[in-house]
Amino acid sequence: MTISHSKHSVRHIRDWLGAAPSLLLFFILILYPLLTLLAQTVLPNLFGVHMSLIPSLSPLRQVFANPLNLEAVLNSLVLGLVSAIFATALGTVCAFGAVRAHRGWRLTIDTGVWIVFFAPSYVIAQGWVSLMQDGGIAAELFHLPNGWSHWFFSRVGLVIVMSLRYIPFVYFAMSQSIRNIGKEFEQAGRLLGAKRTYLFRKITLPLMTPALLAGASIAFAEGFGDFGFAAAITPQTHIPLITYQIYASLNEAPVDYPSAAGLSLILIVVMAIAFWLQMRWMRGRSYSTISTHSRAAATHGSHRFTSATAVSLVILFFALILPLGSTVLESLLKDSASSLAFHNFTLHHYHQALELSSGGLGSLRRTMIYAAISASLTMVFGLYLAFTMIFKKTVATRLVNNIMIATIAVPGIVLAAGFIFAYNAVWLIPLHLVIYGTPICLGMAYLAGSLPYAIRLQLGAMNQMSPNLLTAAASLGAKQWTVLRRVVLPLVRATAVATFFMTLTGTMFELPASSLLYPAGYPPFPETIQKTFNAFEYARGSALTVIGMVIVFVLYGLGRLLESRLVGGELQTASRRRRQKAPSEVKAVTSPTP
């Protein structure tokens, strides 16, 4: 009895020790910065000119006393929910349109969605404004009167644009799920006489609920935590949003961090509740839809151009071609008042953007390095953290998981500010650990911003893996690291590559952390773009953005090529193995018959 008891507690301790690296990582990157910020809701003078630990509830009282805040929370909730619902519908259509289409169409849709994902929010928002505003590109093209797009610059337009923007989150989760779902589940239904629509409603869709919810929850988090879009699309109708309230508290003198922290706390709590509800709902419904044996033949005959494919292409036209095309047109126009005549087009702004003294190029190079590092580290840490969360289920890792996901909703500027407080804190001075103002601090902030997404994506991929695959490797004496590298990584490689490029692009265009944390004198690329926009050089700013995006797309294309090479090689060896299997099976049946 005692022995088994002590063994139990030893294992308990070992569980926590095993989670220690991920806990430490989580603490350094997310929890500590966030806590230093949130602590100010009760210790408003923690980071004052003279530090004071006198607690006060006045910041929180202020936050809750302002009726505008409640209205803002409700607005954000509604907007987030509605756009998440639409994004889920659109993303699901795209996923079906892509997975069950011919290779060419599939690649087209897939790439399109990735570009939507990569494209920085402000580029998309700016593109929509250029397109839809009075005298904008659409008005020029179709000779529309002033005021034609009044409906667009309102909640309606906001929901449309946001839904289109969040398609990728749903698409990634769903396409993976559709690919992995055993074809037998549908076949069984068809043989029982069910028509396709009935089957879709009763079997396919319910089976995809986990993926659907995973995608929808990120879409909601994004919508709930979005400010940029609302600011760009509805400047006149001005809908009060929780993120706007935060932004206002940081941008009106005197800057009020305690109230920003209080509002962020609301944001985090709402997100946590949303995720908790989702998980509660999911409990008991988690089921692995991958059959233990892969069936290569099952995919035959399903590749056709369906109506879903056609609709996906239309959706992508709206989500991608329209806004991005407008941005590109804008970057080519001589000046903002010029009409869309051919003689008004010029490459002048690109020329200027590239010339932009050595500063522009220097910042681009600097950012490429930041991006490469943070993308590599995000990929590695994301893989490792998701791995420990899935296969070493302890209270600690589950806790980390939940908080991590809730931080997706924390606006970038809040987290970045948290980094200043955390890593410029007076208590770090004697330890010589004031890393604020160094490249390391900025790199850590990039990592903190991208890690929750990477983990979320990786969790989705790993959730569909049979634990036996790991047990098998572990039983052969493989260490955890070996299991991760030799078994898990090859299976979730596509997602790993995805997180790499997601972070690469994210870092290329990340603004809040870049501007708050960059080392004095060494601005990164997003800063340069922002500076150009701040100086009202829209065309030149667009040109810089387009240049950055082209770089990202080229890298992404190379990455995909590399990945498909790798996957191709993998499949070849797999089929060779299958072919070798046949004779051995024949041999097996020659054993004696009882």
């Binding site: 069984a188 043989l191 029982l192 006489g193």
Partner: protein, 370 residues
């Protein structure tokens, strides 16, 4: 319903998976499609289910054309029941909902559905599990529900795709009995895909042996086991010694062969065979310390190379010294007597225990002991 397949062909990316299958599946009978991986049996089943279009030939069921070149009747219109390898029970539905699905699709009224579901669940002895979810069931229970689901709407044909392969060995044997009794009581035309010859032998009324997309041999289990036409069939249906031998003379049904210095009388004539070979069942050979050649059997000197104990019998690998051909041949023999490895013995080959089979070009691939 009776199923007729005429010259059914199917290609995947230029690889001919079905190369002209001609087959008749009798009504109300249990037909096993048997063969190794890649032989085309699953493709054939998918063509029967309507999941695959065929490139040539036709599938006619009960006088109705199901598949033809360019025409495929949709799966949902075929009234076919199917049991999948990993059951494919919908994880989000209860046992009741899984089984009732096909009836709901056919718009039966609720009371009628309830009665029918209880009925099929009784058939598979799972009455008590209506509210369970699939993940709460054991492998064998899932299997029963999968069968119940397939049977509920009274299909005209039941297709089963290696239904026992995801179960462990003990359970598999138990399920074999249960499956057989369920299917026999349902009196339904059943097509059963398997790579396990024991399943096919023990359950089927008719076995269709497939090999590389062609029908190798069709017959009752006894016919296939006792009278395999080819080396492939001989090996696949169970343990077999296939040897190359010299032909001395042959009559209509018998041949005289020379093997290891002895002349043996075997069944069959090499007349229409590409590459005749001789098959001996391991159970028909005997081992003895003494050479006692007679008209009833020949005795060949041999030595025990390896052995395995199977509880009721010993399985030996013995090397026969072939004086004429220099090369020793390894033969499998089953015997109740125990012999040590290395023992010098005599192999008694009873007269007429051998049978000529077609070696053809597949012989080398599957030759025992290479």
């Amino acid at each position: 319903m009776e199923i007729e397949l005429k010259d059914v062909c199917k290609e995947f990316n230029g690889k001919k998976v079905l190369q002209g299958i001609d087959l008749s599946i009798p009504k109300g009978q249990f037909t096993a499609l048997l063969g190794p991986s890649g032989c085309g049996k699953t493709t054939l089943l998918n063509a029967l289910a309507g999941f695959l279009d065929i490139d040539g030939g036709e599938i006619v069921v009960g006088g109705q054309t199901w598949s033809d070149e360019g025409v495929t009747l949709a799966p949902e219109k075929r009234n076919v029941g199917m049991v999948f390898q990993d059951f494919a029970l919908w994880p989000h539905l209860t046992v009741y909902e899984n089984v009732a699905f096909g009836l709901k699709v056919k718009r039966r009224r609720a009371p009628e559905i309830a009665v029918r579901v209880q009925e099929v669940l009784a058939t598979v002895q799972m009455e008590g599990y209506v509210n369970a979810y699939p993940h709460q069931l054991s492998g064998g229970q899932k299997q029963r529900i999968a069968i119940a689901r397939a049977l509920a709407p009274n299909p005209s044909v039941l297709l089963m795709d290696e239904p026992l392969s995801s179960l462990d060995a003990k359970l598999r044997e138990q399920m074999r009995w249960d499956l057989l009794s369920i299917i026999k009581s349902a009196k339904i035309t059943t097509v059963y895909v398997t790579h396990d010859q024991m399943e096919a032998l023990s359950m089927a009324d008719q076995i269709v042996l497939l090999h590389d997309g062609i029908v190798e041999q069709v017959g009752t289990p006894q016919e296939l086991f006792d009278n395999p036409q080819t080396v492939f069939a001989a090996h696949f249906m169970g343990a077999a010694n296939v040897i190359e031998a010299e032909f001395r003379e042959s009559a209509e049904n018998f041949s005289m062969i020379q093997w290891s210095g002895a002349t043996l009388r075997v069944h069959g004539s090499p007349a229409h065979m590409q590459q005749p070979m001789v098959l001996f069942r391991p159970s028909s050979l005997r081992l003895s310390y003494e050479a006692t050649p007679s008209s009833l059997h020949s005795s060949l000197p041999c030595i025990i190379q390896a052995r395995a104990y199977h509880g009721f019998t010993w399985q030996y690998r013995v090397q026969v010294k072939d004086a004429t051909r220099q090369l020793p041949q390894t033969v499998e023999v089953w015997s109740a007597d125990e012999f040590a490895i290395g023992t010098q013995l005599f192999l008694h080959v009873p007269a007429e225990s051998g049978r000529l089979v077609e070696g053809g070009e597949t012989a080398k691939l599957t030759h025992l002991g290479g």
